[in-house]
Symmetry: C2
């Protein structure tokens, strides 16, 4: 028996009915009176100089109410390209018209003169001197040149005595001319221990290159925004976003509008996964078009536009080297990663450090670069960067385990960090269920008794992630029938409103169905965190707890006044306040108290909670797959897929299972089929016909195992659960395929044709 009656229960989601019946209002359902239809005019080439943009013909088309270009952006922040386009589909202008067809027709009437430039799609090509440049000729050094230069700098303090040595090093520098990287957008370098010495002490060293494709978050609902600028200058934006407050400040910054003049209303999200934070894609064009036309404007992307101009997850190339002793101790790991950041900066390069995993590796060196290519920019996708880095790290661990002849689970268990171990980033390891989680999945999957027929194999991998933490405010009020209302400003991201509702029902001891939760817009709600980084249940759950506790205090005070007793004699339970010392029993229901409150000086029962930061605790996901590979077709069939996760505490185990299943499915798809494909003309599979996502027929049954090692600062010990489950799946699948057919696929996805090709090269083929 749980000590709780609402949290920890598998309760239906608060938004279940509206989602199932279609009552939920998505961005495309928003249609203010007089609304115009926006259309973004996009580059037809991945790399070209723009010689001219002529909108005059389009402006003459009846029904066209506004056309905007970069000239209309007050801050100058790049919303539209001007002199040069950097990717296929880059926005050049936008149109608002009374009808979508007119907008479409007007887009065709805008004359754009291009001077086509050669383009680059591949990070390993883009860093070369031969590659076309996106932003200029600046170069960055690779790892060897960096360390040689560091030594030269050190020696140059005593130029006289070290001149010979310096000359030698300068000559050595020449040898690494291929480490002069072009088109670099960002870099990050991390080192701990002594990497060279570390490798020297190893009995086994494995080195490989891992290639992970760019994939799209493929949320069901494309980006959409409706903006309405009224005559006072006040802007209302209905945005399909994970972070209304971020959109508010993004619009404010881009367009130079005070925050008080912008109200962002978050519409129900049709999936986000990290890709729905950006302000530029549809929101800013919608606002500009509304300002110019004086009418509300909806800008809504098609699926094709999503692929061309969404902000997908970056692909990357990771060169990884790992060394261990023959007893199985991992001593050193070194990574060199190139992340495809597209036309802009960024691209999760900081996540390269996740090749470290949750293992005691004393010597680490990571060099990561963001590389420009002629593609759109990227954004977060469920545990941004972790699936890529962990794919490399966990794939290579299996190679090491194989070389030293150790069971992959045991190998991982013996290297895992433990409570109190020092953490490379500083401090010591908290209590986390690393081993418990891996052991749980091994037990549940039958790892220790595993059997495999021909072409069958088993794979295991683990992935770690730590949830973020953001600011939040929650208001709670108790009404005259004893029911409760919650008001806050965070977007529901698949169950978070349900968790908040459960927490407040638990503390106020009211039936779950008597609690109503509502999301406010940025004009009415307190600042609330963006819904990403697995922060919502952690942050808003803690905030909700504080709000409910505040209301709880007021309830006891009121009851003490009403029942004429000291509040220390009172207990709130089962929806009423009871005098614990009373015999016969004496109590008052919450409804009676709420009705009574309306005639007291203190007034209605309301509570507030506000919260922002507390250290969070890492979480681990461990997965085991059993697969069978058909050597003739190259198809991989999943026979078993078990996923365990240390979630701290499952506030709603059903929702947690949903998150685990969702993460595993997305990881499985990335491993086996998804990839955005590019050639010299840009993206060539911008739609679900050519971009493969799994259908229900493709999907294995996912068996979830919940492990609960409470997080000290989480609400009821809960950790964020959304992101961890995607992190190990890519490697799990690759490890299972390797076990089945002896072939290590290190370039995703593990497509049938790739498997057939590899088997052929290995002598298995026809």
């Amino acid at each position: 028996m749980s000590e709780y009656s609402v949290v920890g229960q598998k309760l239906p989601r608060v938004d279940a009915v509206e989602k199932v019946t279609g009552a939920a209002q998505y961005g495309a359902d928003v249609h203010p009176a007089g609304m115009l239809y926006g259309k973004i005019v996009r580059s037809k080439h991945p790399h070209a100089n723009i010689l001219s943009i002529d909108t005059s013909e389009a402006e003459k088309l009846p029904g066209v109410r506004a056309i905007i270009t970069q000239d209309d952006v007050p801050s100058g922040r790049r919303v539209f390209a001007t002199n040069k386009v950097l990717y296929l589909g880059e926005p050049l202008a936008a149109i608002a018209a009374t009808d979508p067809d007119i907008a479409e027709e007007a887009a065709e009437l805008i004359k754009i003169e291009y001077e086509i430039l050669p383009s680059v799609q591949d990070v390993t090509e883009s860093i070369k001197p031969s590659a076309p440049r996106l932003h200029g000729d600046e170069t960055k050094d690779g790892p060897n040149r960096r360390s040689i230069k560091a030594k030269i700098k050190e020696l140059s303090g005593d130029q006289e005595n070290n001149s010979a040595e310096i000359r030698k090093l300068e000559a050595e520098l020449e040898k690494y001319a291929d480490e002069i990287y072009y088109n670099i957008s960002a870099e990050t370098h991390t080192e701990a221990g002594d990497i060279e010495k570390g490798f020297e002490e190893c009995d086994v060293v494995v080195e490989d290159t891992y290639v992970i494709p760019r994939v799209h978050q493929t949320y069901m609902e494309p980006h959409v925004s409706v903006a309405s600028a009224d005559s006072s200058g006040k802007i209302t934006v209905w945005a399909s976003t994970q972070g209304p407050f971020a959109i508010r400040s993004g619009i404010a910054g881009t367009l130079g509008i005070p925050l008080t003049q912008i109200n962002v209303i978050g519409t129900t999200m049709g999936g986000g996964f990290g890709g729905r934070f950006g302000v530029i894609i549809t929101h800013v064009p919608a606002v500009l078009l509304s300002q110019k036309s004086g009418r509300p404007v909806r800008v809504q992307m098609t699926r094709e536009e999503e692929f061309l101009d969404g902000r997908p997850a970056p692909g990357c190339v990771i060169k990884l080297k790992t060394g261990a002793t023959k007893e199985g101790h991992i001593l050193a790991r070194q990574a060199l990663a190139f992340w495809d950041s597209g036309s802009v900066s960024g691209a999760s390069i900081g996540s390269t450090i996740r090749v470290r995993g949750v293992y005691k590796i004393p010597n680490i060196k990571v060099d990561a670069y963001g590389v420009h290519t002629n593609k759109s920019g990227t954004a977060a996708y469920r545990a941004p960067g972790a699936p890529q880095a962990i794919f490399a790290g966990e794939s290579q661990l299996d190679e090491i385990a194989e070389r030293i002849g150790m069971d992959p689970v045991k190998f991982r268990l013996m290297n895992m960090r433990e409570e109190g171990d020092s953490v490379p980033a500083g401090g010591t390891e908290p209590k986390v269920g690393y081993k418990e989680t891996l052991e749980a999945v091994a037990d549940a999957a039958g790892w220790w008794e595993r059997e495999a027929d021909e072409n069958q194999g088993w794979g295991v991998a683990v992935g770690d992630w730590t949830n973020g933490c953001g600011p939040g405010g929650v208001y709670v009020s108790v009404h005259e029938d004893g029911s409760v209302r919650i008001f806050h400003g965070s977007m529901d991201i698949t169950g978070t409103d349900t968790a908040i509702t459960q927490i407040i029902a638990e503390i106020l001891t009211v039936p779950y169905q008597n609690v109503t939760i509502r999301r406010g817009d940025t004009d009415s709600a307190p600042y609330s965190t963006g819904s990403g980084g697995s922060v919502v249940t952690f942050t808003m759950g803690n905030t909700a707890k504080l709000a409910a506790e505040d209301a709880h205090r007021r309830i006891l005070e009121l009851a003490a006044e009403r029942l004429n007793t000291d509040k220390d004699n009172l207990e709130l339970k089962d929806g009423g306040v009871h005098v614990v010392t009373a015999d016969p029993p004496k109590s008052i229901s919450l409804g009676e108290l709420a009705a009574y409150s309306l005639s007291t000086t203190g007034g209605p029962i309301v509570g507030k909670g506000s919260f922002a930061r507390q250290p969070s605790t890492p979480a681990l996901a461990a997965q085991i797959a059993k697969v069978e590979v058909d050597p003739d077709t190259g198809r991989t069939r999943v026979l078993k897929l078990v996923a365990s996760q240390d979630v701290g505490f499952a506030i709603n185990p059903m929702a947690v299972e949903g998150q685990i299943e969702g993460g595993v499915v997305q990881g499985y798809a990335w491993a086996m089929m998804e990839e955005m494909q590019y050639n010299e003309n840009g993206n060539v599979n911008p739609g679900f016909v050519d971009y493969r996502v799994p259908t229900s027929a493709d999907l294995p049954t996912v068996e979830s195992v919940i492990v609960e090692v409470p997080a000290p600062n989480g609400p009821y010990g809960a950790k964020g659960v959304g992101e961890p489950p995607i992190t190990p799946t890519l490697a799990t699948m690759a490890n299972a395929v390797k076990d089945a057919i002896g072939i290590r696929v290190s370039e995703l996805p593990i497509k049938p044709e790739k498997v057939v090709e590899a088997l052929k090269n290995n002598g298995h083929g026809a």
Copy 2:
């Protein structure tokens, strides 16, 4: 120089732009997808038995989606008439159709068989045995029969010895057979002192009957409601109402739906004046039609329907008798009032006690009856019942003053209660600016030096009112640019949101324009008071103050943490926190603090306030008019109209002036032109062609004088200001007309034809 920088200032209303530009969303602007149009089928007779209602033909009309009658009302509460209709326009059924014309056509297809009954329109007729009965044959006794019966009851303790006396009294009872009243809906009786002895001691006694017509609140926007029942049973109602929470509980009670299943969204009100609290008129039919059709339904009244089935202010007949000494001391006042409650109970009869005014009258007797007539029920209208009672009381005061030869202002001043005087209802009189207010209007109007040409005259009157107090909750949050958001659940009633905004801006020392106020629906806001009874600024102003003070505390705590000092050294002023002890000066802006808060454990700056009851303080309105009556046309022209009012403290003097002007204009209209007219067929002037309201060409300029005697429990000393200014205007106008032409009009309105007729009867005519 005021000690305040935001409160006390004439600032523009927060909703000014949306009102002026048409951006405000009224009920008629709400149009959910798939919405049907509702139409209420109404009785064509004021009193009739219903033999049958046949909806079968209407149901067959294509486009008709639902027809409802009283059978569809689960609680049985009268929403539609069944066996008998009680007034012209009473609802019998309602239709929802895809088009308003189809609904109209369907209404004609509903066959209703009536058996017509005689009807009664006049309260003095309705109480007689000859009158048709609305609800039954029960009778009530008039004042003399009541007191005789009381004496008989007293004597019957000793039947033996008192039998002769009892027989005598019983015979006397017979003499008052005309005091057996029929069709009484309610009664109330109040007595203080010894009324008979009081009159005996008087030198002058005046007795008269005052007749005040039923008038409509004539808000610009007719009643409208849009209801949407979703497939889970959840009801959303967009209601044009003064009290969304009252509508929620009203719908819940009438239809047996839990509060959690109803969300009421208050739409911008196009005027209310007390007439927009009812739940039956449009809201319940809209909900029933939506439940039955499965589609959103809008029910919107026409202007004609407003007159037939609105809930206007009750008319009444007041017999009033007042006695005073020749020195001018009022010793006794007795009233017998019949209030026209229409088909239901109620009708402000409790306000008859307001004939007492703010005077020291030791002996008072008031008997008031609500009387059924074949008219719709009534509701509140700006200081419900007070204009009627005060019209009688203040008119008769002038008659007394004239008889004893005293100046009407001096006569009132000498009789006014003073601080510490005992109040008839109990307790003692607080400090109220009764005399200050009357003196202020006399000074401003030039009363003491007044001159009048032929047919010109001056009139004075005062009216008192005490604002109500209701429950409220307010949330406040401070955002990263230092701007502030307010969230609450009360409807703005002409300036109350502006007052709340000013109070919060004052306390948080931020510019008024950086504060945004938003109203929540009943699913998101804490319980908030209905917006009537002049409660909003008193209640929500106090609540807002508490919320801002809560945020203020958090701001100082945060600043102490950030500036590393004790919070006692800190002061919030000019939008920043300053270290008072620092030299050189040291401070941090609210914006910086709010941004900083997002990374603290305590989180965003939020404040809450909740409040319900505190005793409020009476307010006085005093008015003086100078008029000129044209004896040929009977038209009265207002040459001067000055209105003073003790408002406690004017949070926004411009808004206060607006309230004073609005109240005076409505009182002027009631005095001079407005009346709902009835004959045996029911209401005969259901529209603005026949029901006269003043246009701007009719209106005098109103000069406002604000008097500020702070109320101990009001925010900054403020009292409710909306209702008092209508209370004395009816009498002010009648007194001025009397002064001009020597004729006392005691039956309103003072229409030109009535004046001509009276002059003719007085020998002035042709």
